[in-house]
């Protein structure tokens, strides 16, 4: 096995035992990128000249181990453009809190940033200004989105591990499509400072990794209260690796009936059912449960998320940074900058969000959506009174073809039907590989838990993973 194929915890062992060096790991990554990146296109701005700078070897915990970062997480001095033309040339003069934490732990921030849907608007990575990323398991398919670049880089061994962001499934769905592990932490668990906001009340940064242990390590590093983020929660961060006990005997698992209805791909359904059986065999107790407001999750999400986005993206106006269209007239400059700087999906969401907040529509849309959001959250609270976790598919299908849903936004939005409720409820959820379709595309199993009970997710996902081989399979590229 090449170094770049190993997990982070395997490499950390080797670094500790002085069997390898950060430089050797980087070299193996660069070699891999040279070989497969033209096919996968997980990274953006490969020709950026200043990015060939060396990476420092660090003494701390992570010993200079490189990590790949999604293009919407601010990295000091490195381009951070959310894969949008409107942020062209933006190099933040500050690091996101997660980047600071990683650097303090000795991680090396990989200078190439991972591709994504523009401003995280999408489920396929096709909405990137830099063009789509390809699924390493089938280059004709999408890697999922919006953190498609991060997931594809990890799946194709072009990255050891990566950070993504998840607003409605943007970590879990691409993790599922690419056969890797992805975690959306509890809202408030990880600081959002330095994450370029899509929908502030839903966004969380989280890990995309080759196995559950790596996800537990990385979550431990990036979590914790941040005085710079009022929505981060002041609660201690446990050692998540301690929850990797490999034992789920007696664990009470709820299976939400609303997640196994029309729209769920038959093959995916069978794979998920087999995974549930596996959990049962490992000692878990499963029962059907109900999350009755599930059907409202997609509309509620597209009201709240776009409302927040329309306001969050107002600052991209050509005045201070990023792309600016030339005009003598201020209003014209605003209009041209935004018309030329934003892609189609970004414009669609800004319009939608502006509409639902407008005078006369606010109560009927935004306010109502907030109320239903509370009901959705209460659905989960109720189930978690009796169950330790909820298990469901991550996505109703495996990876779809590039271009297949690009013209049908509604169909694209339904890709996130199983992941969106988790963000609305603010709870944590993980996607872990649980099988492959006959065409060889990965399928992910989603596990959800109570707020701030990431340990439960790691415990269940790790036990499942250690008793299956799905995570060990590698795409042929």
């Amino acid at each position: 096995m090449e170094l770049n194929q190993l997990t982070a915890h395997e490499l950390l062992e080797k670094l500790k035992a002085r069997q390898t060096t950060p430089k050797a790991i980087l070299d193996s990554l660069h070699a891999r990128i040279q070989k497969v990146e033209p096919k996968v296109k997980a990274y953006v701005r490969l020709d950026e000249p200043s990015l060939s700078k060396g990476i420092k070897i660090r003494k701390e915990e992570l010993g200079g181990l490189p990590i790949t970062i999604k293009d919407n997480i601010c990295t000091e001095g490195l381009p951070t453009e959310c894969c949008s033309k409107i942020l062209q040339g933006f190099r933040p003069p500050y690091d996101a809190t997660v980047i600071n934490k990683l650097k303090e732990s000795g991680a090396a921030i990989f200078p190439l940033k991972a591709n994504m849907d523009e401003f995280a608007f999408g489920s396929s990575c096709e909405n990137s200004y830099f063009g789509p990323t390809h699924n390493p398991w089938n280059l004709d398919c999408v890697p999922g989105g919006s953190s498609g670049g991060s997931a594809a880089a990890v799946a194709s061994d072009e990255a050891i591990w990566a950070l993504g962001s998840d607003t409605g499934g943007s970590i879990r769905q691409p993790a599922s499509f690419c056969g890797v592990v992805g975690l959306k932490p509890t809202y408030g668990r990880v600081s959002r400072f330095g994450l370029i906001a899509f929908a502030s009340s839903l966004d969380q940064i989280g890990p995309i990794t080759k196995d559950v242990r790596d996800a537990a390590i990385l979550t431990g590093i990036i979590s914790g209260y941040d005085p710079l983020d009022s929505t981060s929660v002041n609660q201690g961060v446990p050692d998540y690796t301690k929850s990797l006990s490999g034992d789920i005997k007696g664990l009470k698992i709820g299976i939400p009936k609303e997640y196994f209805v029309a729209g769920l791909d038959a093959e995916v359904k069978i794979i998920i059912e087999e995974a549930v059986n596996k959990l049962k065999n490992l000692g878990a107790v499963t029962n059907q449960v109900s999350l009755p407001h599930t059907e409202y999750a997609v509309p509620v999400y597209y009201i709240i998320a776009t409302a927040e986005a329309s306001s969050n993206l107002a600052r991209f106006d050509g005045v201070q940074y990023g792309y600016r269209a030339q005009s003598d007239n201020l209003i014209q400059m605003y209009k041209l900058t935004r018309a030329q700087g934003f892609g189609r999906e970004a414009k669609r969401r800004i319009r939608l969000g502006t509409f639902v907040l407008s005078h006369g529509y606010y109560d009927a849309y935004y306010l109502l959506a907030l109320k239903v959001r509370t009901l959705i959250k209460q659905d989960f609270d109720k189930v978690f009174r009796d169950f330790d976790c909820i298990v469901a598919p991550t996505s109703p299908t495996s990876a779809f073809k590039i271009g297949e849903r690009a013209q049908d936004p509604l169909k694209m939005y339904l890709s996130d039907i199983y992941t969106i409720s988790v963000n609305l409820a603010g709870i944590p959820a993980i996607s872990v590989p649980c099988g492959f379709t006959k065409k060889g595309l990965p399928v992910g199993l989603q596990i959800m838990a109570r707020p701030f009970n990431e340990e439960m997710l790691f415990r269940a996902a790790h036990t499942f993973e250690q008793n299956t081989d799905w995570h060990k399979l590698k795409p042929r590229l």
Partner: protein, 477 residues
């Protein structure tokens, strides 16, 4: 009067906190453009606001002084609009759950005291400043994010003078609480006015005009006065009033139409998801309440009670906190039995000196001990009241002691009869008419003769002694 004037004022007050409302930048006035800025107040992508507790404290303080109800739950909302001085293109403000509501402010108008309702007091952030030069407009973001209180009055004011009195009372309270510089010229206090006229006795309010761009209290009064006349003219001519915003042009002394209601914006307010709803701890509120200083109204009542001042005099002294403190320490330290002596000096000669110099009492830098000593000289008849007034003026200008000034000016009063008799003799010789008038029983003539002696002695003669001597001299004759 045929029409009743109805005025409501909206005051924006910059709080004098050390740092901005949502970041750690300094709020110092007059710094080089764009030097008090950071990524947060510049609204850079990925940055997040964190509210300033000091600003919240000041806001609660002021709201309590107005007798407002402090809300238990409050939140920040986003007011969305595009403008180059607003880096995020939304302003963090408060919409439907303001910090406090339902307060009042007492004013002392010509018709006596009057209670003006305060609708709400809420916290928001200030915008930057546009500087227009030939061919180019520049933005200074130093002001961006400075905490701003919006204080909205009920339409309880019925004349431009009442509006002026309201602002004066407001300023006085703010000064007592030391929460703002309150300087309209520096822009730390800004005032917009809504004004409409209605037929006396009419129930419904007339069509209102919003007035902006006044940069002094007098400007507010002048603009309102102009508007009362303009609206009266329109109503008399039976012209239809339109709801509009008008700007006060101080040069022209007129208001000029800016925009009509049709052009009003939809600000698409919604709760700022970066700042969670917060609960105002009632124990904190009671703590702040307990620490509120004595406010002008209470101080006035106390001055009347403790020092025997008239309500009129007390009102003058308490209108400025520093003046009140200076006055009170003068009164307290005054050794004479009749404190009224000191009071008369304070609100008489001293206040005239202050007005002459367009300054406040305390700004005269007068050493209270010198004032006390000066009053002592007068009391002992060492100098005349007239001379003392001129010494007072010199005390202020030179900072020398009263004793030195009296000596230097050779102002000791002449009470010695021998020294005066010669002058009196001359005056009697020169004013035969007055002498005969006096003898004929016209007492006024005596006053005239005393005046002539005073004149000849350069004001140093003791008028009482002179009067007595003349009377005796003429009785002898």
């Amino acid at each position: 009067m045929k029409y009743q004037t109805v005025i409501g004022l909206e005051v924006h007050l910059q709080l004098n906190t050390k740092t901005k409302a949502f970041c750690g930048c300094s709020t110092d006035f007059g710094k080089a453009p764009n030097s008090n800025v950071c990524p947060v107040c510049l609204g850079f992508p990925g940055t997040l606001p964190v509210y300033n507790r000091q600003a919240l404290n000041s806001a609660i303080k002021l709201a309590l002084a107005f007798g407002c109800q402090i809300q238990e739950h409050t939140k920040f909302d986003r007011k969305n609009y595009f403008y180059p001085d607003l880096p995020k293109n939304y302003q963090i403000s408060q919409f439907d759950l303001p910090l406090s509501r339902n307060g009042y402010l007492d004013i002392y108008s010509q018709d006596g005291p009057k209670r003006i309702g305060i609708t709400r007091v809420h916290l928001e952030e200030d915008a930057g400043k546009l500087i227009h030069e030939t061919g180019v407009s520049l933005v200074d973001f130093n002001r961006t994010g400075i905490p701003l209180l919006e204080i909205v009055s009920e339409p309880d004011l019925n004349s431009p003078q009442e509006a002026f009195d309201y602002l004066t009372s407001l300023k006085s309270i703010i000064e007592y609480l030391d929460v703002s510089d309150c300087d309209m010229e520096k822009g730390s206090l800004r005032c917009d006015a809504n004004i409409s006229l209605r037929l006396c006795g009419a129930g419904e309010l007339g069509v209102k005009t919003e007035l902006k761009n006044m940069n002094s209290f007098k400007g507010v009064k002048d603009a309102l006065t102009f508007e009362v006349e303009r609206q009266t003219r329109l109503l008399e001519a039976s012209q239809k009033m339109i709801q509009e915003t008008r700007l006060w042009d101080v040069e022209k002394g007129a208001t000029i139409a800016m925009r009509t209601k049709e052009g009003a914006k939809d600000y698409r307010y919604f709760p700022d998801p970066d700042l969670t709803v917060f609960i105002i701890d009632q124990s904190m509120v009671s703590h702040i309440k307990a620490q509120l200083p004595e406010l002008p109204r209470e101080k006035m009542r106390r001055f009347v009670k403790e020092y025997g001042l008239t309500e009129y005099d007390a009102k003058i002294l308490v209108s400025s906190k520093n003046d009140a403190e200076f006055a009170e320490s003068c009164i307290q330290d005054y050794p004479g039995k009749d404190k009224k002596e000191m009071v008369n000096w304070l609100i008489g000669p001293l206040l005239s000196e202050a007005n002459l110099r367009k300054r406040k009492l305390h700004e005269l830098n007068l050493d209270k001990n010198e004032l006390i000593s000066l009053i002592g000289f007068v009391g002992r008849q060492d100098i005349s009241h007239l001379s003392a007034k001129s010494v007072l003026s010199q005390l202020i200008d030179t900072g020398k002691s009263a004793r030195d000034l009296i000596q230097e000016g050779n102002l000791q009063q002449i009470s010695n009869a021998d020294a005066l008799l010669e002058v009196i003799e001359t005056v009697i010789q020169e004013n035969a008419k007055s002498v005969s008038d006096f003898k004929a029983g016209k007492t006024n003539a005596l006053m005239y003769l005393v005046g002539q002696v005073m004149k000849k002695s350069s004001g140093k003669a003791n008028p009482k002694v002179v009067g007595e001597l003349i009377r005796r001299r003429l009785a002898d004759a």
